[in-house]
Symmetry: C2
Subunit: 651 residues, 2 copies
């Protein structure tokens, strides 16, 4: 791994081959001015490469003379060997020494739990989806051999593939005679193995050999966002991904408001339609994307695995979520049957089926089950805290032997909901933020290094932590308007900080973080923190005993542990104990889509898990109120934050 030595800070950091130089500086705790998120439009991140060579894109922002002197725009440069880099004074815009003092260690990102790790989790994990596509060539009937079409098909499926004992959808029979004859009796049978005491089913019959065209969809139905992955069920490869806000957001931001909406006349029907509309839109998107590589036909997408919280899956299946909200908070079902995609209105072919990952209780759904599966908690020896930082704020504590789960209704802040310039973690979202404590100038990086459009979850954590550490906001999230800086201002009696000036954005408006945003963020992080501590205390387990924290959620790739601790989202914990799972629910859905064994494990998890109902927990509300400060009312629980604050403010 190449080493990068920064001057004048005199800091050294090792990075992966090919790492971006601006990101490397951030990792090293070195401040370089950067206003455009790394999109090479502001031209501010000028650095001089003094030793070694670096790849950098040509830019009009630098003169030939400057290039000869070794100048590059850090955001365009890729580290491939050991180099020495000097940050010129103009790129520091102040005293970079302050940043150095503030934190002696380099930044500790939450390690990423990669897909590679996951396949290792399953040992002999093989692709074994619930559906099979079997090609057969039947001998056409004649007067001597005149068994029925179905019998003829069964005979050949048994002979060629050992599949004889199956039931058949009436919709398949309705077309069978025509399909067989038009296809010259050469057909592909799609057979679904449901397991759980159910007979196999013939769900489709298609002309010709389509056995290698076998696709499925993994879907995460979040309260705020929906993610869809199109998966090749032969190779296991993900062909395309897409995500989108859940169109139900127009009917309310959180679960409770959705349930309230569902009680209106035709409310449930409308909500069901909205979630299906969103998924259908995403199906179109992933198919279109995948077609850049493979000619995917909708008719070959025969199976879907969907994970979501219990309210979302109830609505998706057309089951009223009403009793989830009424004491004693009972869902209709945590295990739901596999249904026909058509029956739900999904843009999938006749016969295609939808399996919904089982959950545990009204507020712990299949998304947690899927996450616990995908992240390997179900077989971990380590005492693990798994947190899905979604709108519903579900989490679980435990290991291979036991699992205790709860939910704390966090709100949508980390997905961009209830935040003025909030957005999901997609291209153009600010995902990393540093603020120079001396100049109060930001250094920002966006996903895809595109012109900034808004702030995603990880950017929000970063920004709030930096605002707090630099004294721009106080422990209640209120702005110090006294500070004389154009980025700190009051609008309509409310303080805000300008992260990006309009001319550097893609949206041609200032991207700001407001007091209202911070209020929402604090409520969100407070609920999660209160959930964590209630869960731990109910098992009489101290924070230090946690061996691993797994964070799931769609809020961006770079979650910095220190920053998360700084705002009091996570308790004080060593950085290396924290890992980011990404969208655990989606990951789990994909595994279940690919493997019947994974599905069985998910069923086991949902059955084994126990549930702690925070809505009736006597201490949760107290803990929540105490957590509505940065980092927390009880500062003694956050010694490292106090240390960092002191260092930063003394700069």
């Amino acid at each position: 791994m190449p080493k990068v030595h920064f001057y004048p800070d005199n800091r050294v950091v090792e990075v992966e081959n090919g790492e971006n130089l601006l990101r490397t500086a951030m990792l090293a705790g070195v401040h370089v001015n950067a206003s455009c998120g790394g999109s090479s439009t502001c031209g501010k991140c000028r650095v001089i490469v003094e030793q070694g060579k670096i790849e950098a894109k040509h830019t009009a922002k630098l003169s030939a003379d400057e290039i000869a002197q070794g100048y590059v725009l850090a955001c365009t440069a890729t580290v491939n060997q050991d180099i020495e880099v000097r940050i010129p004074v103009e790129s520091q815009m102040g005293d970079s020494k302050a940043a150095l003092d503030r934190e002696l260690e380099t930044v500790s990102y939450a390690g990423f739990l990669s897909a590679k790790d996951l396949s290792e989790l399953f040992g002999k994990f093989t692709i074994n989806p619930a559906t099979k596509r079997l090609y057969v060539e039947l001998t056409p009937p004649n007067l001597e051999d005149n068994v029925s079409d179905l019998e003829r098909l069964r005979r050949e499926l048994n002979r060629r593939h050992g599949v004889a004992d199956f039931n058949v959808d009436i919709s398949v029979l309705r077309k069978m005679g025509g399909t067989l004859r038009e296809a010259d009796f050469k057909v592909t049978a799609t057979v679904l193995s449901l397991g759980g005491g159910e007979c196999d089913r013939l769900i489709r019959l298609d002309a010709g050999d389509r056995s290698s065209k076998h696709y499925g969809l993994a879907v995460d139905i979040g309260t705020t966002s929906i993610y869809v992955e199109l998966v090749d069920l032969t190779t296991g490869e993900t062909l395309a991904k897409a995500s989108e806000y859940n169109a139900q957001v127009s009917c309310g931001e959180d679960i409770i408001s959705r349930i309230v909406y569902s009680l209106k006349k035709d409310g449930l029907q409308k909500l069901q339609q909205l979630v299906v509309d969103t998924i259908n839109k995403l199906i179109d998107k992933v198919v279109e994307k995948a077609r850049e590589k493979v000619q995917v036909e909708i008719d070959d997408i025969v199976y879907m695995v969907a994970a979501g919280n219990t309210t979302m899956t109830h609505i998706f299946l057309g089951i009223t979520p009403r009793y989830i909200r009424e004491e004693p908070y009972i869902p209709t079902a945590t295990f739901t049957p596999t249904v026909e995609a058509k029956e739900l209105g999904l843009k999938m072919p006749d016969g295609a089926r939808v399996y919904t990952v089982p959950g545990k209780a009204s507020y712990v759904g299949g998304d947690i089950t899927a996450g616990l599966l995908a992240s390997g908690v179900f077989k971990s020896e380590k005492l693990t805290l798994y947190i899905d930082v979604g709108t519903n704020g579900e989490m679980a504590l435990g290991n291979a032997d036991w699992l205790l789960s709860c939910s704390c209704s966090a709100g949508p802040a980390f997905e961009g909901g209830s935040i003025k310039n909030g957005m999901r973690a997609t291209k153009g979202a600010i995902e990393q933020v540093r603020i120079n404590p001396a100049t109060l100038e930001p250094m920002i990086l966006t996903i895809g290094q595109a012109r900034p459009k808004g702030i995603c979850g990880s950017g929000l954590i970063d920004a709030a932590a930096e605002l707090f550490l630099t004294g721009i906001i106080n422990e209640k999230g209120r702005f110090n308007i006294e500070l004389d800086n154009p980025r700190i201002r009051e609008v309509d009696g409310q303080g805000e900080y300008v992260l990006v000036w309009a001319y550097d954005t893609a949206i041609k408006r200032d991207i700001v973080l407001t007091e209202a945003d911070l209020d929402n963020l604090i409520r969100t992080k407070g609920a999660i923190y209160a959930g964590i501590t209630t869960l731990l205390d109910s098992m009489q387990i101290p924070v230090e005993a946690i061996e691993e924290i797994l964070i799931a959620g769609g809020f961006g790739r770079y979650i910095e542990v220190d920053q998360s601790v700084t705002i009091g989202l996570l308790p004080e914990i060593e950085g290396e104990k924290v890992k980011y799972v990404g969208n655990g629910s989606l990951l789990g859905a994909r595994l279940i889509l690919l493997s019947r064994e994974a599905k069985n494990i998910a069923v086991d998890i949902a059955q084994k898990m126990t549930y702690l109902d925070l809505s009736t927990n006597p201490t949760f509300m107290d803990r929540y109120v105490s957590a509505l400060f940065l980092p927390h009312t009880d500062r003694d629980s956050f010694p490292s934050v106090m240390r960092r604050m002191k260092a930063s403010l003394s700069a």
Copy 2:
């Protein structure tokens, strides 16, 4: 059993207690004039009871004086003890001696295979339908016991009824939360056991205790007629029956014309709609009838078993019958899945299911399977010929060890189709006919002894046989117009015989039998006879080897073996070998509705049976053409008919 002695014929007959006196006379071969079918309106069947007492209704047709002399109308009188009866000259209208000479033996009706016999067939036959209705009272949930509604239900179903392992319809889940709470958690679960490797399913959940309200429908879907029986699945009792012409008749009389119709644009859909419309109408009827005894709700009718020929079941299920008609005549399926009643458009509640009895081939359907089940052929030691004299003319030969089936496309004559005054065997249908060879006057009896409306199958056999024996028609079914009798006439160049004059009918038109009717009848009986002989010859079995002939079909209670042999419908066979099953298809459907064991036997029968395709059989067509005479081209095969003819014509 009381003995009835008729004078002047000097004939004695034994009858069941309560037998009608007019029917007794017919049984004894004694002619009594009777024009109104036994409805006591014509007043012609006057007889004198000379010894013994008889119950008879009061009638204005007899004077007080006559009554004092012992006069009664035979049609109103019921035999309860030994009596002596004299037929006065005016009621003979001719020389009754002729009838006496014509046939020395009394009439041999095909014995009736009663429901009692059937239950004996099954040895330890117990009521064990595919559906169960289980009442449970759940403990309402609370904060400590907060499992999902489904789990709570499963727990209690397991505790009370040992039913834990079941899947659930999504439609049930959609209403479960509301139903449980509105019903105070006291509910009835309807669970379907499909067998055949399928998991049990919860198909309905109803408020309160409906465990004793458990109903099902047995349905026979004939090409011409549809029969529906409403059965109490707790007691096994049939609560009501109804039948109706299949509304598809408007699209063609036989299977082939239906298939042709199905190929038109929306043809299949229309045919499916028509058959479902007819069944729905019949469901309404049976529910209404049943309500005279029991308060049956449609919502409690949870299961249907339907039997029909392969084309009918294909159309019923919405499967194209197209390839049944195209060489090599292949059905899509002979075993079809259990489907939701709603899916077919049936007037049954959500969750209700429909099972279709499996058949064997394109022209041997579930109606034959059901008949072979119900008539006990599947376990008979006797070599049995089972004939379903429906439009499709299906039959099977064999016993417990083997079964060979075929179909001969007979046409709808025996169900009243293609017959000018034809009708199904319902109230007012002429079911028995005698014609006095001397006077050519008829003696008729109708079903329910109501005013005649038309002629049903058994009446048609009788009438044709009598017309032939009395020389009114020749062996080609042509009328002898030379005979000077007002009942024999020519209309538009076509001969006909007036069975009932308009003033004695319920329809206020003469009820006649025309040459065209006879042509259709001859084709129908010819096809069946050709089927029988082809089947026998293919196994090299002579007629004499048949130990039992079972006749099924909805053509009336009184099938006279001799008359059937006279027209060449049946081969020459001893009367006691022939039994009438009634509607075997409906009977079998009812057994399957009541018993999962019976269903398994039906599956075995359909699998074990072999099929002889007459449409490609080289000898069938020759046999058919030879059979287009009364009784047959080969008169030597019908010695008893020749004997009877001679006796009759010499009268």
